[in-house]
Amino acid sequence: MGKKTETNRSYRDRNASVTVSVSFMVHLICVLGLAIAFWVAQNVYSINLVSDPTQTLILLWVVESPIVILLYSLLRRNPEQCSYLKAVGRGIVGLPIGALLMAFGAVILGAPIGIQYLEKTVNWSLLMSLFTVVPTACVFGSSWEDWQRLFAYTKPVEVLDYIICVPAHGAVIGTWLGAWPMPLDWERPWQEWPVCVSYGAVAGYLLGILASLAFMLVFGGRRQHLKGE
């Protein structure tokens, strides 16, 4: 903990916005939001991803989206030049755009196309967008260099980068791995699109959050420390 406070101090000196503890809180709230959404789905509406994927996914993204947009807008880059509302607006715009990107990626990788799948794909991609694109949109807006650094090069530099980049990659990789059981002939209901993929995405997101925290403690802290000196 001593190291952490030291990091915080050195970080604050650099007039940067985010500390490890703040990021921890952000992650915690996001995870809690997800958990609450799952809990509500299970206990209030008594549905889950397997029994009613569409409704559950709607519930998930409706609960999660205000949390993510409002939280990450707090962490926006250059708070002096960019108002909170603007960041929120970026997040709201980013949500459908990201969903489009995610849906494109999923369809390219073989997601089924058809009227009966449309609803599921849309809701799933909105959730994926919340995991990946929306935080970045809130924080960095349309700064192409930052997007490129985070997603084309995967070179997170500061704590903020880790908060956004690692869970997003985790969600994408989790989704990719979650698609593997789909073609198998086990005849289980969860093999349907997008059930196992959503599970994979959530699991990957959670693991990504854990990994990002670990990264921040190990690398981020050290790097900030060095820079502080």
Binding site: G110, Q148, F151, A152, W176, L184, D185
Partner: protein, 996 residues
């Protein structure tokens, strides 16, 4: 090879590659020969000739026999066989999956108390001596269809026999049911519909049940038994087949000790009782004599599975109820061992029909006890003759009869046995011994009717049995053995070749990397950095190898290829949106100009390739489990045939116009280019004509004019390719230092050609570009002609994918590792293979297309065309490697611009040849090992072996493709170097002249 003399490294590379490939071919041959033994089978159906000795060469007119009516035929058989049929009717009751242990016990032990109690009636039959049971050992694979075939034909089919009549599931070999039909029997079939698939149209009445719903144990059997009463009363049939699936289903659900097992056995016992009471027992002379045979096709393991070769699975039952003779005691009624194939000759002889031609079984001696001695010997003799004919087919020297063997010399026979000299000699000896004994017994019997010759009789029977058992063992070993002395060296050789190829590839990678470093930084001590796409390409290979071990993954392989290939291309996309890379190769002038352009075009071309890939995947719902789901091809076929036709024509014109554009972009006013363009256009027109013709007469696709069009098309295509390959390197203008500037302006404006004009090897790349386009376009046109109409669009999409990929790579400069690029092309080819509707079952092979443009019925030609249709996509991508080579500027890797031909070849065709070979060898070796590990798997014949055939075909395809690429590269660059030398010597000559 010209390359071998010029450079040591190149020569070594080529030599090692060739050695590795030869080793691979050798290993593959050894393995295939070991794993899929091909035994020569006799064609045709046994007829009256089977009642004559194979030694006598008397031939009678066969037409006469073929014209016989069934009843004439029946009496002819009766007369010739000298054995009056003991029965008129046969009831074949097949209890699927019933282990013989349940009825007969294991070894010396009677069955358990519970089992005895479950089948009281059957047990009483056994103990009263009215039934005799056999442990009829089944051969693997212990699954229903091959076992039914073995029971009715007495032959053990190899896998390749199955593979080669993939057209039909109908059983065409000589078999009991066919023989019964020939003598005019009426047959009724109730139960498993496999019989109906095997013998379509054979049954007078049938009620098939599907074995699909394994969970159902009641209805499947009720469905059979509900007809039983009516059928037993009816007397219009001679053969009644009852196939009960319930017991197998019980096993699949709960294993041998399932609580459902005892009730199920009781039910079977009731059925046996009903049949026995109503049909077999009444023996008044007016009534037809009926034999009830209870069979099981295979046993089951403790868990209820089957397919393998364990004792539990192969221990199947053959129970004869109602034979005339009385069995002395319970032990001799239950402790008999035989083989499943023995059922066929036994039933054939009991019912007076010829033994099926490829039978390897031996009659079950005890079932003939009610016959007279001479009839029993005659039965043995007939069985021996039939086996002798089969042996003769496999050992052509057998009946030449020039062995120094006196026949009945015991000592000599055993001596032969001891020395294991000559298998033919041994068989001949054993047979002639038995035959001689038989003859002497017959002559003795003619002289005196005293009983002194029982000893002789026993000796004769023993001699026959020895011959029959020896022949049976030898024949069945030939059919099922997987000799480890072939398999092990085969696998070892393949592994060695795979390792060799991989290490060559690795060394080439290292060398190229070092050169690159030297070229770029002037130092060679940089650490190697792995990029994501390289790592993922390796991951793809690993995943593919592991996915081969799962039968579901093999069945649905198309998803894996598409998923992995698309992911790889998404990674390329990610790379493409990284900041515009200053292609290290590009000359300074081009860098600035083209940066923005290349940046966008790279991303766009990748997205284009990805979208094409997705459409391709949606075109055919391949695989096994999800075939019924809707896809684009089904949708189009439903709408209208005219739409498909117009898509075909549009595809042809797209291919033609794209090729014209590409050749136009060369900006070469050479006559060759013009000729190529013209002939491609002409071929395209011919394809369109063929399409119109084909659709005009859908029902007669092989009519004269369309065949003629196809043949003209083949001729034009062939001559175009030959002309281009041979002529292009000679006639295209060879560039030297001065001409660069003039040509530069053209290429910069072009969108697809990225031939950098300051390259010293411009002419070489020009000609490779031309040849590559000719190859690719010709192949596309050929496929548009050959493939099913619905596949026209996928062929076009594959063509687009090639263009997009090559465009992406050619703009990329050194940013990507060359091996990843070639691997990506190869992966695309394999994904496209499934996009064209292929799968890992043999059912998807397009047989109809194999006869387009072939006027005579030639199996070889049709096979070649079928190969081209099936492996269209991998070959297309291998051929497109030539374009890739021409577009990829690797010349900077040479030490000097005038470097020797060896270096050039190594850099140019090293990767495009080695990477497919290495990838394929990894797949081949891995799947070979998987196949050996899975040899007892339930799906080895239905899933893994067909897949292995595809893997072998892909290997051949890779060899062909790589050979074409390598030969083209070698020929073109040798011509180039030759011309260059001529040019420089001429220049030298002129300059010296000037000096003088």
């Amino acid at each position: 090879m010209s390359s071998s003399s010029s450079s040591l490294t190149c020569a070594r590379l080529a030599t090692w590659t060739i050695v590795a490939v030869l080793l691979q071919i050798l290993g593959l041959l050894l393995f295939v020969l070991g794993f899929f033994p091909v035994k020569p089978a006799l064609s045709g159906v046994s007829g009256p000739e089977s009642y004559r000795s194979p030694m006598s060469n008397s031939m009678e007119d066969h037409e006469h026999i073929n014209q016989l009516s069934p009843y004439q035929r029946r009496s002819l058989y009766k007369e010739m066989s000298e054995i009056p049929p003991s029965f008129d009717r046969l009831i074949l009751m097949v209890v699927d999956g019933l282990p013989a242990e349940f009825v007969l016990g294991k070894g010396d032990q009677p069955p358990t108390k519970a089992m005895m109690d479950a089948m009281p009636y059957t047990q009483s039959l056994l103990s009263h001596g009215t039934a005799i049971g056999y442990h009829a050992k089944a051969a693997p694979p212990t699954v229903t269809m091959p076992r039914l075939k073995a029971m009715v034909s007495g032959a053990i089919g190899g896998f390749l026999d199955v593979a080669f009549n993939f057209n039909t599931q109908a059983f065409l070999d000589d078999n009991l049911l066919g023989q019964f039909l020939n003598i005019g029997w009426k047959m009724v079939m109730l139960g498993d519909e496999t019989w109906i698939k095997l013998f379509p149209g054979l049954f007078t009445r049938h009620d098939g049940v599907s074995s699909f719903y394994v969970k159902d144990t009641i209805e499947v059997d009720h469905n059979v038994s509900r007809h039983l009463g009516a059928e037993l009363v009816a007397n219009d049939w001679n053969l009644l087949i009852l196939h009960y699936l319930g017991l197998d289903h019980v096993g699949h659900i709960g294993g041998r000790s399932s609580i459902l097992m005892i009730p199920k056995l009781k039910e079977m016992d009731e059925v046996i009782k009903t049949i026995h009471m109503s049909s077999v027992l009444p023996q008044d002379p007016s009534h037809e004599r009926t034999l009830l045979v209870v069979l099981s096709d295979h046993g089951m393991t403790e868990n209820g599975n089957h397919g393998g070769s364990s004792y539990e699975e192969t221990d199947s039952l053959a129970l004869f109820i109602g034979l005339g003779s009385k069995i002395p005691d319970y032990a001799s009624a239950t402790r008999n061992a035989a083989f499943q194939v023995d059922i066929a000759p036994t039933l054939a002889l009991l019912f007076g029909v010829p033994i099926p031609k490829n039978n390897i079984g031996v009659l079950m001696g005890e079932t003939f006890d009610s016959l007279t001695d001479d009839q029993r010997l005659r039965a043995l003799e007939l069985n021996s003759w039939q086996l002798l004919r089969l042996l003769q087919a496999q050992l052509p020297g057998l009946l030449c009869g020039n062995f120094p063997c006196n026949g009945f010399n015991d000592a000599q026979c055993s001596e032969i046995d001891a020395h294991r000299v000559n298998i033919e000699k041994k068989f001949y000896c054993l047979f002639s011994k038995a035959a001689t004994l038989h003859r002497s017994w017959v002559s003795q019997e003619g002289r005196s009717f005293c009983s002194t010759n029982t000893d002789d009789f026993r000796r004769t029977v023993a001699a026959y049995n020895e011959f029959l058992r020896t022949a049976n063992e030898w024949l069945s070993r030939r059919a099922t053995d997987k000799p480890p002395e072939l398999l092990a060296p085969g696998i070892a050789t393949m592994v060695v070749s795979c390792v060799t190829l991989l290490s060559i590839l690795f060394r080439l990678c290292k060398e190229v990397y070092l050169r690159e470093k030297q070229h770029l930084f002037g130092s060679d001590n940089c650490k190697y950095k792995w990029h994501l796409d390289e790592v993922f390409a390796l991951v793809v290979i690993v995943i593919l190898v592991f996915s081969m071990g799962s039968s579901s993954m093999v069945e649905e392989e198309q998803y894996i290829w598409h998923f992995l290939t698309s992911t790889l291309y998404l990674i390329f996309l990610r790379k493409a949106i990284q900041s515009p890379s200053a292609g290290a190769t590009s000359s300074l002038l081009n860098v600035i100009k083209r940066q923005k352009f290349s940046y966008n075009s790279r991303a766009c071309s990748i997205i284009f390739v990805l979208i094409c890939g997705r459409v391709l995947r949606g075109w055919h719902q391949g695989g096994v489990n999800w075939v019924h789901l809707p896809d684009i091809s089904k949708w189009l076929e439903q709408i209208d045939a005219r739409i498909i036709k117009s898509i075909q024509i549009v595809s042809v014109f797209c291919v033609i116009s794209l090729s014209s554009l590409a050749l136009y972009l060369l900006k070469l006013k050479s006559r060759v280019v013009l000729v190529v363009q013209l002939s491609l256009f002409l071929s395209g027109l011919l394809v369109v004509m063929h399409i119109m013709e084909y659709h005009g007469q859908t029902f007669a696709p092989s009519n004269y004019s369309s065949t003629l069009i196809a043949q003209i098309f083949y001729a034009i295509l062939g001559s175009t390719v030959m002309l281009t390959v041979l002529q292009a390197p000679w006639v295209l203008p060879i560039s030297d230092g001065e001409t660069h500037v003039n040509t530069e302006s053209h290429s910069v404006t072009s969108f697809s050609i990225n031939i950098q004009m300051n390259s010293p090897l411009l002419a070489l790349r020009y000609s490779l570009y031309l040849i590559g386009w000719t190859y690719t376009v010709c192949w596309c046109l050929l496929q548009l002609l050959l493939q099913q109409p619905i596949n026209a669009m996928p062929v076009l999409l594959l063509f687009f994918q090639i263009l997009g990929t090559i465009l992406y790579f050619s703009v990329g400069g050194t940013h990507d590792k060359q091996w990843v690029e070639v691997a990506a092309l190869y992966f695309l080819g394999m994904a496209g293979h499934f996009g064209l509707g292929n799968s890992n079952t043999l059912a998807t092979i397009d047989v109809a297309g194999a006869f387009i443009g072939i006027s005579s019925h030639s199996t070889l030609l049709a096979g070649v065309v079928m190969f081209m249709i099936t492996l269209a996509s991998p070959l297309l991508f291998l051929l497109s490697m030539v374009i890739y080579i021409s577009m990829k500027d690797a010349s900077y890797l040479l030490f000097s611009h005038n470097g020797n031909i060896g270096h050039l070849l190594q850099m140019m065709i090293g990767f495009p040849c080695l990477v497919p070979l290495a990838l394929n060898s990894v797949m081949l070796t891995a799947f070979t090992i998987v196949l050996v590990l899975m040899r007892n798997h339930l799906f080895v014949w239905s899933v893994f072996s067909p897949k292995y055939l595809y893997v072998c075909a892909t290997t051949v395809c890779v060899y062909v493709g790589v050979l074409v690429v390598a030969l083209t590269g070698i020929y073109t660059s040798s011509v180039f170097f030759f011309r260059k030398r001529m040019l420089s010597s001429m220049e030298n000559g002129t300059s010296t002249k000037l000096k003088q």
